[in-house]
């Protein structure tokens, strides 16, 4: 059975899924941390603050990245299995760890490094296999009808 292999364009979509989700979450977190603290006790003030938050650069960037994530995720699911897309795009978590280490100079604990290695191994495993479950083409002739279809009283 021929293995379903991806095109470079499809790898690009998977890359977008992997990168946009964690980066979008990080942008939202960074933007919300900079906002004044929000109390649920005052719904109108909460609404005002949330609407204002949408127009701040970090949160706007986070929302744009998450929209990009969802669009590319849906595209990926239209030509690849869910059980392929989910582990394959987990590499995004590794990108974020490496970014926080080398860009933000954060300290990464040994536990997290082990996590990075395990995810990378998992992605390598799944990437070697087919992206889509091969299904036999629907064989119309072979499918027996449960009841004979009649047209004008004559069995078809």
């Amino acid at each position: 059975m021929a293995q379903h292999r991806l095109l470079p364009r499809q790898y690009l979509i998977l890359g977008l899924v992997a990168v946009c989700a964690p980066l979008g979450d990080s942008c939202l977190a960074r933007g919300m941390t900079a906002m004044p603290s929000i109390s649920l006790a005052h719904p109108y003030a909460l609404l005002d603050t949330l609407i204002a938050a949408v127009f701040t650069p970090w949160i706007a960037a986070g929302i744009a990245l998450l929209i990009g994530f969802f669009a590319s995720y849906l595209t990926a699911l239209s030509w690849a299995d869910l059980t392929f897309v989910l582990p394959a795009t987990a590499i995004g978590n590794v990108f974020v760890e490496l970014l926080s280490k080398f860009w933000l100079h954060e300290t990464i604990s040994l536990e997290r490094w082990v996590g990075v290695v395990l995810i990378t191994l998992g992605v390598a495993f799944v990437a070697q296999g087919p992206a889509l479950t091969e299904r036999p083409a629907p064989a119309v002739e072979k499918a027996p009808l449960e009841e004979p279809v009649t047209i004008g009283g004559q069995p078809r």
């Binding site: 849906l74 239209s78 030509w79 299995d81 869910l82 392929f84 582990p87």
Partner: protein, 142 residues
């Protein structure tokens, strides 16, 4: 999203729940999330290759194909329920428990659901990948 929820809610209520309640809250997040993912994946498979649709009918055609699928909206509904279940869980449980538990268990639940409901070919390679990523995500989120 998780961090956003925590910031929105302030510090989580330090309520000591029994293990069953904590388990039920995490299970609710995992099950609704897996249901949403499976329904969304099933909708996208029934719609067909979006790249092909976009090449044929342009971006509006691709968007129309997605937003006219009831199964897609069912999936989005369950994903929204999962998000609110996560908010609720974060209100009662610590992020250091909820984040790794939901992230890793959702992956396992999706793999099992993908095999059962989507009839995907989950071979040993995919099981191994799911297990490795599951433990890895747990360690990163912890």
């Amino acid at each position: 999203m998780m961090l956003f929820a925590v910031i929105l809610n302030g510090a989580p209520n330090a309520v000591t729940l029994n293990a069953w309640m904590a388990g039920a809250m995490i299970a609710a997040v995992v099950l609704t999330s897996a249901t949403g993912e499976v329904l969304t994946a099933s909708a996208m498979k029934s719609i067909g290759d979006l790249d092909v649709i976009r090449a044929r009918s342009g971006l509006p055609g691709a968007i129309r194909a997605v937003v006219t699928s009831p199964r897609f909206f069912a999936g989005v509904f369950f994903l929204a329920v999962a998000f609110f279940a996560l908010l609720l869980a974060l209100n009662y449980l610590n992020l250091s428990l909820v984040a790794p538990a939901t992230a890793s268990l959702t992956l396992v639940a999706n793999t099992i659901a993908g095999k059962i409901f989507l009839k995907e070919n989950v071979d040993r390679r995919r099981w191994a990948a799911a297990a490795l990523v599951c433990v890895g995500v747990y360690l990163l989120a912890h």
